[in-house]
Amino acid sequence: MNSAVTVRDLHVSIAGSHVLQGVDLRVEAGGVTALLGRNGVGKTTTLRSLIGLQPGTGGIEILGTSVAGWPTHKIIRLGVGYVPEDRDVFAGLTVSENLRIAETGKDMNYDRVYALFPELKRRARQLAGTLSGGQQQMLAIGRVLLERRPLLLIDEPTKGLSPKFVSEVVDVLHRVRETATVLMVEQNVHVVRGLAQRVIVLDHGTVAYTGEAGDLDDEDLTRRLLGVHQ
């Protein structure tokens, strides 16, 4: 099986704290891989490091290209989409401007985005900062779906959303995973079970477990790795 992402011995320090202490992981091409772990173990840092937003040392290969030390925009142009934890839509820009800024000039597919999120079309002229959390998440995901990207890095897509928006986002990700590899940070084990085929668990800055999503059915394992009861 091909790898969409390969990370070797990744170390990252933030403000003197050694957050990632030699992460080795491999994300198989196709489907959804969930990156799990307790709060503060370095899941978001790992995603940010993959696209150069967080400097670190170690080997990173994205879609078959070694990208360690590359600037972020160059890594993204390999065909990577990134949806950050806090959505990070541009509050002072309208919805349509938020989408327009994601255009890279090739294979733009607004119809696809508007078919997935009709709300975005209706609110095209509304300032993104005035959208609800769920609508902002739609916009953040819509932004990376504007063109075909073979790899999507999505950080906590359901965080802070109402049940209605959670099911809407999950539904969209079901469709997205048919055409792209998704590496997703997610705390909600039920969402992971429904979406992911594979899981990678981080603990103390390293990979503590790699396996199938079905492994999460093992209650002892889940409690030990994630500290959650099912």
Binding site: I51, L53, P71, T72, H73, I76, R77, Y82, P84, D88, F90, A91, G92, L93, E97, R100, I101, A102, E103, T104, R143
Partner: protein
Amino acid sequence: MTTFIAITVSGLALGAVYFLISSGLSLIYGLMDVLNFAHGVFLTLGAYAGWAVAQHVPQRGPAFVLTALAAAAAGAAVAALTEIALIRPLYGRPVSQILVTIGLDLALVGLLLGGFGSDSRPVPVPGWVSAVTAIGPERIPNGDFAALAVGLAVLAALTWFLRRTRYGIVIRAGAENRDMVRALGIDVGRAFTLVFAIGGAAAGLAGLLNSVVFNSALVDPEQGDQLLIFAFIVVVIGGLGSITGSAIAALLVGLVQVYVTFYAGHGAGLGQLGNMSVVLLLAAVLLVRPRGLLGRAA
């Protein structure tokens, strides 16, 4: 009443010059968090470029446009080079950026003083620029109208650019969250250079217009530094990063300065009252609205 009209037009023209300087400062700070103390010398170099071109172009009819284009081009080129060579290696190091821009300003002003001397040099301008237009019994210099027209044109062009073009949207987005712009596959470095170039072009125009309208058509090596302090005041009053705020603040500062100088600045020891009034205006705005007229809350 007619005197009031003349000094009002003069205040608006001065405001237009302040806007041209402060728009670049505000854009640069808004996008890059760079306090550019070399902005004044961009203005001076623009004025000297205009002066140099005007020496060789017969000043008839629209020749002044060529002079103005030379001033804008020189300002843009020097600003872009400054960003690429000096600012880019220092992103994330604000103190170093401030020091390097102060150093650049001192060095370039020193070079101008060495090359051209401290004497002012006259800029040849077409007759229509130095002529006056009669409005009733009042005679208003055409230069005032020219400065006002250029200021309005630059405001309209900047607004169109920031609202309607993709690069404009990138610049507005970058002012909010540079990392996210990068994470959408955009080379923010190019936007930085572009913003410096735009700011430099506007400053170059301001340098030429200031010479022609407010400095008896003379250029001198230190004119930029004298204006820079007022431009910083305009940026703070308008709200850091806000072009519209800068435009409003520039007109306000220009009008207040001219009114106070004219109505209260006569007499011994009162010559600086106009300048003092601007500082008082700054203090008043900051007391009432610390983020400036249209600045975003921190």
